[in-house]
Amino acid sequence: MTKGRLVGLEGSFAVAEAVRMANVDVISAYPITPQTHIVERLAELIANGELDAEFICVESEHSAMSACVGASAAGARVFTCSASQGLELMHEVLYIPSSMRLPVVAVTANRALSAPLSVWCDHSDAMAIRDIGWIQIFAENNQQAFDLTVCAYRIAEDKKVLFPAMIHIDGFYLSHVVESMILPDEEEVAHFIPDYVHPFVLDPENPVSMGCFGPPFIYPEAKKAQEVDLENTKPKIQETWNEFGEIFGRHYLPVETYKMDDASSALLTMGSSGETAMLAVDEMREEGKAVGLIRLRLWRPFPFKEFREAVKDVELLVVLDRAISFGMGGPVCSEVKSALYDKRKDLNIVGYIGGLGGRDITVEGFKYMINRALAYPEKEEEFEIIGVRE
């Protein structure tokens, strides 16, 4: 029951299509590298009269997010995207919509951070914004980039949620690659994302103050409310994905597993590398090795329960990080270890860092990681940076 038409679309264009079908009111973006074709396409759609939205071409990513905050506070449905250095320049403002509870939707085409200057994919930019308080979701292919962006509006704007949401798509691997995908019927998408009304908007008739001064007597209460509410978005996220699945035939979970039923070893990935990892798992299965794959779809709020459930029967967990938390190791591996502390002390967790700055991780690369971890179960190092020339 996959409804729609089969098309070939670049990841950036797939996201632009989702934003167009979401019928956004305001798009605010800075147009130069590390920007992708997403806003280029959206600007084209607006210029062609195919999307009735205001395009604010700002002077920096910091301003792009600021304009989104303002427009969202006025009740508009908004969109922006960035990556890499641009996302870092936006960093300060990213905390504002999550604290003010504005349902901004953004897409990040994950890329490395300077220096040396790199425009290629890794998760350094995503890991630098782990704590911004947004709902953060990782897509694996262009279909998911589209689907999850559509769902992001529905989730973010739900009155039980009202948090900004960010979809991470791997730079180049998705943003610049044409894949076949199903483009659903526009009206069905519009129906799936109805108009929304925020309980508080900037309105001279009903004045409110947003983002006010928060002295010590109120700040901790505000932060607790924000954290508890973010945690409580999990059922709504799943409910939305379930409903999307029922209508459009594609189903999403906070933690997705592949060949995990009888697996004794598992590999964990985020983003586009999950599909390469699947091929590695297939090949290792043919070799008689009980290997499975876990893909972390929902990154924030972290799906503790689903993740613990996914690893409950394995003896070895191999975690791939596409970023370094300098002086600490792989950020995903660190979080995974902390999520399992007290729960699975017997589980051997091996962290690898790879795929930095657009270095490809091949099927052989994943097999090497798993085989290496299986061969050396008692590793002394906390983590290993792999695929690097001596």
């Binding site: 604290s99 003010m100 009202l162 001064f213 109120i218 505000a222």
Partner: protein, 106 residues
């Protein structure tokens, strides 16, 4: 908590403030470590202190003299620095006196 202040469940979403102009009830006078004391015999009623006060805490009275509202005055001393006639002296706050003054006001 019994302080009369809102608990985390009672806050509006996003900590939105629904009462316009509520900042007026926030007592910035608490921040003060020095208060402005005036010798109005030297005052030429120029209003420089009133103009320079960054918190608009200085008001003009019926006779044309100026006085800081200590509920808001943070004790920054800009008025004393700018006054061309040396009317204003910044005097260290003594906690007990501050409390006494507040009691009298009530």
């Amino acid at each position: 908590m019994s302080s009369g202040k809102k608990g985390w469940k009672e806050l509006e979403i996003g900590c939105v403030v629904t009462e316009p102009g509520s900042a007026a009830s926030y007592k910035t006078g608490d921040w003060r470590s020095e208060k402005p004391v005036r010798d109005n015999t030297k005052c030429i009623k120029c209003g420089i202190c009133y103009i320079y006060c960054p918190d608009m805490a200085i008001k003009e009275d019926e006779e044309g003299y100026f006085e800081a509202d200590l509920y808001y005055c943070k004790g920054c001393g800009i008025c004393a620095h700018e006054c061309p006639s040396g009317v204003i002296t910044m005097v260290e706050e003594v906690e007990e006196e501050k409390e006494e003054e507040e009691k009298e006001k009530r």
